[in-house]
């Protein structure tokens, strides 16, 4: 028997999730920032990390978005093959949730309708949705509020197959150094390897959803994560690019198959206010 999920319920839950995620930074992220504060080597870096932690506390306490850039509403959805949505399409339900959450929660509307005409849509829609079908009758909705500062500094490159892990590491370090303070370090760095280009980009963003610092289950990728984190944290970029040890909090790599000729690499930088949440209906 398929299970019916009402689109209204989806919209309500998504609306709540947008507001909560923007006002309350996740515990795993805050733990990572506290650890970075403990090991920071510069006065400026420590001062900035203190401000970041104090800001997070104030945001949660006053129910205010921790950063004014409450971002593009990005969704990764796993829909059970036994689930049916009644009332509206999944896309319409998600967009309705975003519209309500961003309006009622005093979140900033940062989306323009057209890349050239640039008229603000006024309600932060459209949401950007990746949908995957899985077994079961549940609907798992993961949300990322992705701000412009960090998103704009991401990069994609198709490397030659022989570039290997060292080529990936060097490309990530180059991307982080070029970005400097603009994407609001300390960063969580999402890396997508393989696939055709849009797949690598999608994986790089999806990698940001993982618990901050939890290694990939594949030992080879976990080792690469550690190696890249170490290299990035030797650049000296530091908190907000003003110099320090805490350039990144974690590196998350996701990989999939790819063509025999290529090693596609996408890098998605997450700022220190990585706003993410997951709900299951």
């Amino acid at each position: 028997m398929p299970r019916i999920i009402q689109s209204d319920e989806i919209a309500n839950r998504v609306s709540r999730m947008c507001r909560d995620a923007c006002c309350r930074l996740p515990a795993d992220l805050l733990d990572a920032i506290r650890a970075a504060r403990q090991s920071e080597i510069t006065d400026t870096g420590r001062d900035i990390l203190d401000q970041i932690l104090e800001n997070a506390r104030l945001a949660a306490e006053t129910d205010a978005p921790s950063c004014q850039d409450t971002g593009m509403a990005c969704f990764f959805i796993e829909m059970g093959s036994e689930a049916i949505i009644a009332g509206a399409t999944l896309g319409d339900a998600i967009n309705e949730g975003v519209r309500r959450g961003y309006t009622e929660g005093f979140l900033r509307k940062s989306i323009v309708r057209h890349p050239f005409q640039r008229e603000n849509t006024g309600d932060n829609t459209p949401a950007f949705i990746h949908l995957e079908q899985v077994e079961g009758d549940c609907l798992k909705i993961s949300f990322l509020a992705k701000g412009g500062g960090s998103e704009n500094m991401g990069a994609f490159r198709t490397m030659v197959a022989s570039a290997g892990p060292n080529g990936v590491r060097d490309f990530v370090v180059e991307t982080v150094e070029r970005a400097g303070g603009s994407p609001c370090p300390p960063l969580v760095i999402g890396i997508g390897l393989g696939g055709p280009m849009e797949y690598a980009c999608m994986l790089a963003k999806k990698a940001l959803l993982r618990d901050v610092g939890r290694p990939n289950a594949d030992p080879m990728l976990a080792e690469l994560e550690e190696e890249i984190l170490d290299a990035v944290n030797r650049t000296g970029v530091g908190p907000l690019g003003l110099g320090g040890a805490a350039t990144a909090l974690a590196v998350h790599v996701e990989a999939t198959g790819c063509h025999i000729t290529a090693l596609p690499v996408a890098v998605n930088l997450g700022c220190h206010a990585l706003r993410k949440a997951t709900i299951i209906l």
């Binding site: 001062d47 401000q51 104090e54 205010a64 900033r108 509307k109 500062g149 303070g181 003003l242």
Partner: protein, 193 residues
């Protein structure tokens, strides 16, 4: 940690030249929020021979677009946006008399040179510390381009807005030098470990 210097806007030429890259400051007085769209429009107005919507001489500009104000607050969270996007507008704004700019992240060589030429400074505020900074805002008013919504020009009265002098009027900057110093410190620690 070194002492924090209090500065007041509008900033005089002499006061701007006293500030040194790397210094922590607290800014009080009037500042104007502007992002890409407001810069483009304001410069278009100047080019058409129209007056700017506020006095640019000695003015302080804050690269920011606030979240909506909740009931009872003058403004919503309002942290700095990425400054490098404004680089192409900045030399012109400085030549019109702007003395202080607040944003986040590094600036290009043309901006650093233009800051020196006009005796102005660039401050880095803490990106993401939007609630902390909003607490420094006593009042806020849209003074131009309301159709740009969060990107409209707002006049803010601020008290003790925390920032770091990132580029001073002598052309010293903290992003490259701070990164270099930190990188050397990290390498030294690794070698002695």
């Amino acid at each position: 940690m070194a002492e924090i210097r209090d500065i007041t806007t509008p900033l005089s030429d002499a006061a701007a030249r006293e500030l040194r890259a790397g210094e922590r400051v607290r800014i009080s007085g009037t500042i104007y929020t502007m992002r890409d769209a407001a810069h483009a429009r304001l410069i278009e107005m100047l080019d058409a021979g129209k007056p700017a919507p506020f006095d640019l001489r000695g003015a302080a500009i804050y690269y920011a677009g606030a979240a909506p104000a909740p009931p009872g607050r003058p403004i919503g969270p309002v942290g700095p946006t990425t400054s490098v996007r404004m680089d192409k507008f900045t030399p012109r704004m400085l030549s019109e008399g702007v003395k202080l700019i607040i944003g986040k992240g590094p600036r290009g060589p043309e901006v650093i040179e233009a800051l020196g030429r006009s005796g102005a400074v660039y401050c880095a505020a803490t990106g993401g510390a939007a609630v902390l900074i909003a607490q420094c805002v006593r009042s806020a008013e849209v003074i131009a381009f309301p159709d740009l919504l969060s990107e409209a020009i707002r006049r803010l009265e601020v008290v003790n807005f925390p920032a770091i002098i990132a580029v001073d009027a002598a052309g010293n900057e903290v992003f490259e030098s701070g990164r270099q110093a930190a990188r050397e410190l990290i390498a030294r620690r690794a070698n002695s470990a």
